[in-house]
Amino acid sequence: MNVASASASARSRQQAAGHITALRAVAAAEWTKIWTVRSTLLTLLLTLALGAGLGYLVGAGVAGGFTHMTPQQQETFDPLFATFYSLTLGQLPLVVFGVLLVGTEYTSGTIKVSLAAVPRRGLFYGGKALAGLLTALCTSVVTVAATFFAAQAGLGPYATSLGAEGVPQAVVGACLYLTLICVFAMGVAAMLRGSTGPLAILLPLLFLGSQGLGNVPGLKKVTQYLPDQVAAVIMHLAGPPGDPRFSRDFDAWTGMGILGLWVVLALAGGYLVLRRRDA
């Protein structure tokens, strides 16, 4: 190795270290932004309350009606459906959180201050996404755990346990899903540069999703690929397993892969808009 290439590699190492320091600073700033507005605590607590609270109620409801089910229904009964169903509503405040995280930059005009302080668009966007992702991940883990145990308490004798077959995968899938749908919402808000538009699109879509949008005959061919529907398999929300009406054309992890694709597309779209448009 000659001197020139040695110094070049030292320089690129130094540059990389500088990038990491900068990213850490921006993520810390975004973290501060997140925790210094009231809407954050409100949306995140609501996510937890809806998930766990409805989880218990759904569990208790299903348990109470179990004896009235047909023998066939009893046979295909999946406690995980009753466990995670509440998350289809519990995700809504988390999505609102993701949208507001990016959208209020535009609605309040803070984006100008942000970009004047962090003029490198990629650095700003990366720091924001990282802080949002970490917040969403922590919230998701807590919410999924609370929801799981609340639902099992509600289900009583029909409850399942963490060690049962398929449960660990569903729990991990639920944590990933909640985190990713929140990041997806951030990307959509970055593309639309605001809060109202993204909320007007995402909330009805996700609400309809909870009502079985992915199972509508005819529409299913397309709707099963929507970002919330692709995670229904891993979370056991697509319907009783083995029933062709509710089955998906893909398996659990393929579904999560498709969700990952959605998230990457939304984030990339948001980044392009941020880079191209004047602030």
Partner: protein, 307 residues
Amino acid sequence: MTAVDDLSFTVGPGHVTGFLGPNGAGKSTTMRMMLGLDHPTAGRVLIDGEPYRSLSEPLRRVGAMLEASAVHGGRSAYNHLLWLARTNRIPGTRVREVLETVGLEDVAGKHVRSFSLGMTQRLGIAAALLGDPPVLLLDEPVNGLDPEGVLWIRNLLKGLAAEGRVVFVSSHLMSEMALTAERLVVIGRGRLLADTTVRRFVEDNSRSHVRIRTPEPERMRDVLTAAGIRVEQAVDGALEAHETEAARLGELAAANGLTVHEVSTQRASLEEAFMRLTGGDVEYRARGDAEHLAGGHVEHRAGGGRR
């Protein structure tokens, strides 16, 4: 529509430079381009030879206040400055310092949405000072301030310049800049009209005349005209002599035995000089013309200056 066209100037340290132009002249757009918030179609703005967008920790190089109202209302003043400090790894202790500098330490914990226009403006200035930068860019900093606040900011800006900083301040008020700035950059319709000192600007642009009041205006007029001096009658009956000096008129009056009640040099006000300079360039007259209303988004961009 072109908001800013072929605009080129250099701003130096040690004094306040006023950036003047009528509303809609392109002041805000220029400042936004300096911060990399708007893309110029051609050309570039360099800060110490680097484009703003490639600066790391730019708050330590350039402190800017574009729209003071661009703050999340649900965040406290302290927290607003805290996150901003963190982006550029500025220590949190600096937040308290700048809050004291702008006199907001007592309301540091209050939500910004409860702030008056003047307080928001002070917060914007605190944000600009956060990184202790050698260059300050402030867009209309006196807007919305009460007389006390205007005086405060005037002294603050002069003090910051005296410390050897570049202080670049936009305004549409010539009279304010005359009191604060030493140098002036004047634009109209996005073009450079003047890049000079306040003193030179005044001398070049304010036509001065000498006012004479006398009980014998007819004779005085004849005497002055005979001496080759252009004279006009003012509305109140006094005479206005152009392109001459008070001493010469006094001498002429004495030599001709004329009684004089007043001989005084009158300078057209700065505001008048400014109006004359930019007169042809006022973009938004009472009757907006269709050509300029057409380019909706760009006009909006230039709109910051109209507030």
